[in-house]
């Protein structure tokens, strides 16, 4: 068990979870890697500060995703008030469209979903979380999570087939 204060032990945790958290946030920001990495860093900082409060009621991975999701929502709120960050604009993305790989295309595809759908779909299909775990991360009731996933899937299938 790692306590806050043990920076180097925390680095091990960081190594283990950085990929999943950064990929999750890249999907949520629809491909804005710089913003996603900033939020990921903030999430790990918060995780470090709140390690003592982790009681093991959920899996550590779920808890960490919850922190990352809350950091993302906070960032969105700030960006909305400042109106500086152009709401993860696709135009920013299209400037680097020449070297798009599959992952980048998926991130772009995510822009067609709303934030909650993006979150539920990514956690369910990409991160392989159960519906109950998604409820913990998003603080939404089970029925709402299921309907967000179904709606998101339908939208994505439509986009892919078109």
């Amino acid at each position: 068990m790692i306590n806050s204060g043990d920076h180097y032990a925390f680095a091990t945790l960081l190594k283990k979870y950085q990929s999943s958290i950064r990929q999750f946030l890249r999907r949520l920001t629809a491909g804005d890697h710089a913003v996603a990495d900033d939020i990921a860093q903030e999430s790990f900082l918060r995780c470090y500060q709140k390690l003592d409060t982790f009681l093991g009621q959920s899996a550590f991975n779920t808890w960490l995703h919850k922190i990352a999701y809350n950091c993302f929502l906070k960032f969105k709120q700030k960006a909305y008030h400042q109106r500086e960050v152009a709401g993860f604009d696709l135009e920013i993305f299209e400037t680097t469209a020449l070297d798009i790989e599959k992952d980048l295309l998926v991130e772009r595809l995510m822009a067609s979903l709303d934030i909650t759908e993006r979150t539920c779909i990514t956690l369910s299909v990409s991160a392989g979380m159960s519906h109950k775990e998604i409820c913990v991360v998003t603080n939404l009731p089970l029925g709402t999570v299921k309907s967000h996933i179904n709606r998101g899937k339908k939208k994505l299938i439509e986009k892919v087939k078109n």
Partner: protein, 98 residues
């Protein structure tokens, strides 16, 4: 939605690349250390200010009426000047989520 659509989505949406970036890791650890240092200095400053306030306002024989009368000696504008930075500082601390 049929099963083929479901598996199509699964194959599209899976995380393909592993992001293992040592620079990200080092930067995060540096930020953690920097924030810990900042927290230490802020707490030290808060303790210092609290000690100064203690010595100014609280006499050795603790008497609440004296404390109130000492505070009352300040003009309202001076009190306001003292209170505004304290509230601002507290709001900033709250936003930083130490």
């Amino acid at each position: 939605m049929d099963k083929s659509d479901d598996s199509l989505l699964k194959s599209i949406l899976e995380f393909r690349t592993q992001i293992n970036d040592t620079e990200f890791l080092e930067n995060t650890i540096k930020k953690i250390e920097a924030r810990a240092r900042l927290r230490f200095w802020l707490l030290s400053c808060a303790l210092l200010i609290a000690s100064i306030v203690f010595f100014i306002f609280i006499p050795i024989d603790i008497d609440s009426s004296k404390i109130i009368s000492n505070i009352a000696k300040f003009s309202p504008s001076a009190l306001l000047i003292l209170i505004i930075p304290v509230l601002g500082f507290s709001a900033w601390i709250y936003d930083q989520e130490f």
